[in-house]
Structures are given as C-alpha cells and as structure tokens.
Symmetry: C2
Subunit: 231 residues, 2 copies
C-alpha cells in the first residue's frame, strides 16, 4: 500500500481531517442505532425462543457499539445528533427498501448487509489514524453475522426452493446498499476523502481502489457460497 | 401482614413451591423479552435521536433482566423456554391489543403498563423466599418508566387536546392488562397460589387481597395524576 496513516494529532490539528472522521463515525453510529432497531424487529419475528434471544442479544451489542461511537464523538467535541443527521435519510431508505418479508430474509440481511458494510469500513480503517481505526475495527468485529449461516443452510436443506428466493434477495440487498452508498458519496465527500486522500495526504490510487472493490465483491461471493447460494 | 415468607430451602424441598416460582419467573422473563421488542419498536418511532437513544437504552435494560431471569431459571434446574411458553399467548395478546398508534401512546404504555405490572410483582415479592424476592424487585426496579412523565406533560402543554385521548388510552391499557391477568390466573394457578398460600403455608387473606388491589389502583391513579390525567 502506498498510503500513510494520518497521525492521531490530525484529529486536533486538522479540522478538515476531523470533519472526515466525523462523517465516518456518524454513518457508523447511525448505522448501529438502526441495526439495533432492525435486529430487535427481527427478534420479534423469530420462530423460537432461542432464535429470539440470539437476535435480541445481537441487537444489544449493536446498541453498545452505538454508545461507544457516541462517546467518542463527544470526546472529539462533536455532537452525535448533528453528525448522524446527514446519514439518516439514506440509511432509512436502505432499510425501508429492504424490509425483510420473513425471518429468513431478515437473517440474510444481517449476514449480507452487515458483512459487506463491515468489510467496507475495515478497508477505510487502513486510511485513518490509529485511534479511529481501532474503534472502527472494534465496531465491525461486534457485528459478526456468522451465526446465521447454519440457520439458513438448514432452512435450504428442508426446502431447497428457498435457495432461489434467497439468492435473489442477496442480490437485491447488495444493489440497494450500493445505490445508497453512491448517494452518500455524492452528497458527503468526508468518507471518500479519507479513502482517496487530500492535498497533503496521499490516499488510495485507482489501482488500489480497484483491488479494494474486488476484495469486497470476492468476500460477498464467499459469504453467499457459505450459505450454498450463488452471488 | 399475616403471611410468612417461605424459606429459600423450599425451592429445593418443595416441588410444588418451585413450580409456582417457575410460573412467576416465567411470566416475568417472557414479559422482559417482549418489553425489549416493544421498546425497540417504540425507539424506531421516536421523534429525536435523544428519545431514540433513551428508549433503545431502556430496551437493553429489559433484555439484561431477561438474561438474569433465564440464568436464575437455569440455576433452579428449569428450562426457560418451557417455563415461558404458557405466558406467550396472553402476553402477545396484551401487546397486540394495545399496539400504540404513535410515539406518545407508546410512552404511556411503558409508564402505565410497566407501572401497574411492576407494582403487582412487587406485591407478590412479599410472599416468596428472599432470593426470589430480591430478583423480582431488582427486575422491577430496572423497569422504571418515570422518564416519560416530563415528555408526556410537555406534549399535553403543547396541545391540550392530547390529554383526553391519552386518558382514554390509559384506561384501555389497564383494562386489557386486567383481562389478560385474569386469563393467566384462570389457566395457571402458580402465581395466585404464591399469593393466597397453600395447605402448609398461609398466604394473603381476603382483606389483605382487598388492600393490595386498592394499593394497585391508588398507585395507578397517582401515575395518571403525575401526567396531569384522570385515571
């Protein structure tokens, strides 16, 4: 990699860098808040007590991550509400356009949606100061959706027709996520600036960006394969 | 009071007493699980980020209480799913018959519904062994709905017509809670046995039960008055 991680002091000394980090933490924080709501709603659809408990527990983890991000924003002298506001509409749109029709679609959304967005944030984490990077990675690690794999595989075993529907649903989730990500990128340049760098800070070049998107796509394909589905 | 608290050893030595305690912890545990879901759904309706965060935080507290109850059931050699099952239908019915139409009705439901049910469980806590009693009181304390008072009062100040609608809603909530409580009492005698005692254990007499219901009603009236509403 050709880029250099900005120093932690940039959070204090470089208002433009701080504004970019605020965007990153803001989209993550609002994402965690709605992930909490969504997982809790999925828990309400769960067929068994143990599924319900598992999803509810994961919802509380997302809420803990939200609190960590909010506290960090506050340490940086930023107001979480203000920082989250620009991401409210695109994230709400993503969720309202991908409201799961049933329990399995809800699980897929946790696994596919959280999977690809966490991969993306992990990529960004290479381009930020070490403190921001640690927090971002910690939040992504708490979002592990691997617990759904076994549940979806066994649903497909019981009724193989489910596979086609879920494969289609997986493509729809990724398509909708990309649409909203492009909207955010067009409206707010904070996160893309972290990635591609600024005048005084080299970021990813075009080849590196290409490799990054290839990694994101590959990892998504692997997740779908783990379910026994075509991406 | 004329009753004597059963000794903790009754949990081991008296299978009938243990079955009654299982009912109590089972209804509380399932109640916490659905309270978690309901508060999370209310959080999704919240008008501001700070309201959203407050409700989501309270949802996570209810989930922690659920985990405490589940662990306690397991310590007692009981399976939480089995113990909760008889209360699933009546509690789900209560919630589906009292789905809040908006954010304020959701807040009222937290305050009025949790208030009266916690008062009832606190009364029951006098009639059980000290270990069960501590856990029940701890769970009730975590359900404090006082945070809604100021929010509802200010909504009524802004639009006094809200008061009539919310007063009616409060009566509906209590009516529906009583209906479901009677159903549970008719189907499952565990909790009422704790209250009125058994052959070898004197419980509340009729006068005491009368005073208990008077206290529940008085406290409900006080909660409504705190909102500036007629009960």
């Amino acid at each position: 990699m050709t880029h250099v991680r900005p120093p932690v002091s940039a959070l204090r000394d470089d208002p433009h860098y701080l504004a970019c980090v605020a965007d990153l933490l803001g989209v993550l924080a609002y994402g965690e808040l709605v992930a909490f709501e969504r997982l809790a709603a999925d828990a309400a659809m769960a067929p068994t007590f143990s599924d319900k408990t598992e999803l509810a527990y994961r919802a509380t983890l997302e809420f803990s991550s939200f609190l960590r991000l909010r506290d960090r924003l506050s340490e940086l002298g930023l107001d979480a509400d203000t920082v989250m506001e620009p991401f409210r509409e695109p994230l709400d749109s993503y969720h309202s356009h991908t409201a799961p029709g049933d329990w399995l679609e809800g699980l897929m959304k946790v696994y596919v949606g959280d999977g690809i967005s966490s991969d993306f944030y992990r990529e960004i984490a290479h381009y930020v100061d070490s403190e921001t990077s640690s927090l971002v990675l910690e939040v992504c690690d708490a979002r592990n959706g691997d617990f759904v794999v076994e549940r979806i595989r066994s649903a497909i075993e019981q009724d193989p027709r489910v596979a086609g529907r879920l494969a289609l649903w997986g493509r729809r989730l990724v398509g909708e996520a990309l649409t909203q990500a492009q909207r955010v990128a067009a409206d707010r340049d904070g996160i893309s600036t972290l990635l591609v760098g600024g005048a005084d800070r080299p970021g990813a070049d075009l080849a590196e960006l290409g490799r990054m998107f290839a990694r994101l796509t590959d990892d998504h394909t692997k997740r779908m394969q783990a379910l026994g589905l075509a991406a």
